[in-house]
Symmetry: C2
Subunit: 166 residues, 2 copies
């Protein structure tokens, strides 16, 4: 498996060199991933519109992680979420997922302000689940690395859809 992967990569590298593809002045870059490090094996929606569409059509709740690249709290939460195989499996199988650095124009996604890290759930009926929150009264949708068990409980709550026949 690993050998096959490496062979495929070798071929890719060889082919891309042969064709003389565009290389930026500043040197070759590693292609950006949609996961932004929150789980490379998961399938991420690109935008809120895409997430809503998938959520409705597959009847799965949407989980949105708002974060920032240079925020240590985001980085700490990212670390525990990516290293927890149980959460990764649940995200993969039971949720539509989206991670966003830039806020959307939809004010429903920031009921108590725009801060990071912040996790919002949206029901397939397109209702933002403002009732599902963490343990901090001043930042209802914030989670710290120690809150992983609460996050899992909240994921279970989100899986109980508001209108299951939709």
């Amino acid at each position: 498996m690993i050998k096959a992967l490496l062979s495929a990569l070798l071929v890719l590298v060889a082919v891309s060199s042969a064709f003389g593809k565009y290389i930026p002045k500043t040197g070759k870059r590693i292609p950006q991933t949609l996961s932004r490090g929150w789980g490379d094996q998961l399938i991420w929606a690109q935008t809120y519109e895409e997430g809503l569409y998938w959520s409705r059509s597959r009847n799965k709740p949407l989980m949105i992680i708002f974060h920032l690249a240079d925020c240590p709290h985001s980085a700490a939460l990212k670390k525990v979420i990516t290293e927890d195989n149980d959460i990764q499996k649940r995200l993969d199988e039971d949720f539509i997922i989206l991670n966003l650095i830039y806020e959307t124009t939809d004010k429903h996604l920031s009921p108590d302000g725009q801060y990071v890290p912040r996790i919002m759930f949206v029901d397939p009926s397109m209702t933002v689940r403002a009732d599902i929150n963490g343990r901090y009264r001043n930042r209802l949708y914030a989670y710290e690395p120690a809150d992983l068990t609460l996050l899992k409980t909240n994921m279970d709550a989100a899986k109980k859809l508001l209108k299951s026949e939709l």
Copy 2:
């Protein structure tokens, strides 16, 4: 360079195996890229909000490619755009770029309907450049592979900002 890259990949593969990271039931996936094949070396905005923010703050026009994964016209246009180093260089240096599969809620981005492939330019003043269009009267913002020269001309037009002092 290639050797170093492969060594780094080897290490990555080894490390990820060692830690027993999450692997989906259906097998290991190749991480999704933000480029979706439109130029892996370019830096893509994830969402329209992100694109607008970068466009304003860096004073560069935003170019948005609407496409679909299973559309042969999108695929044909993608092929010529990725293989043209001149366009790739211009996109990299002179534009903020965004490729979208799902439409946004902003109707200004579909002046004559939602179809793919469709290329829209947005000025850093946040004005959609509905005046910059291709050669088809019924689909003003559609481009075919043979329209690459016209696309370059239009990119030049978009670079002449509406309010250059912004």
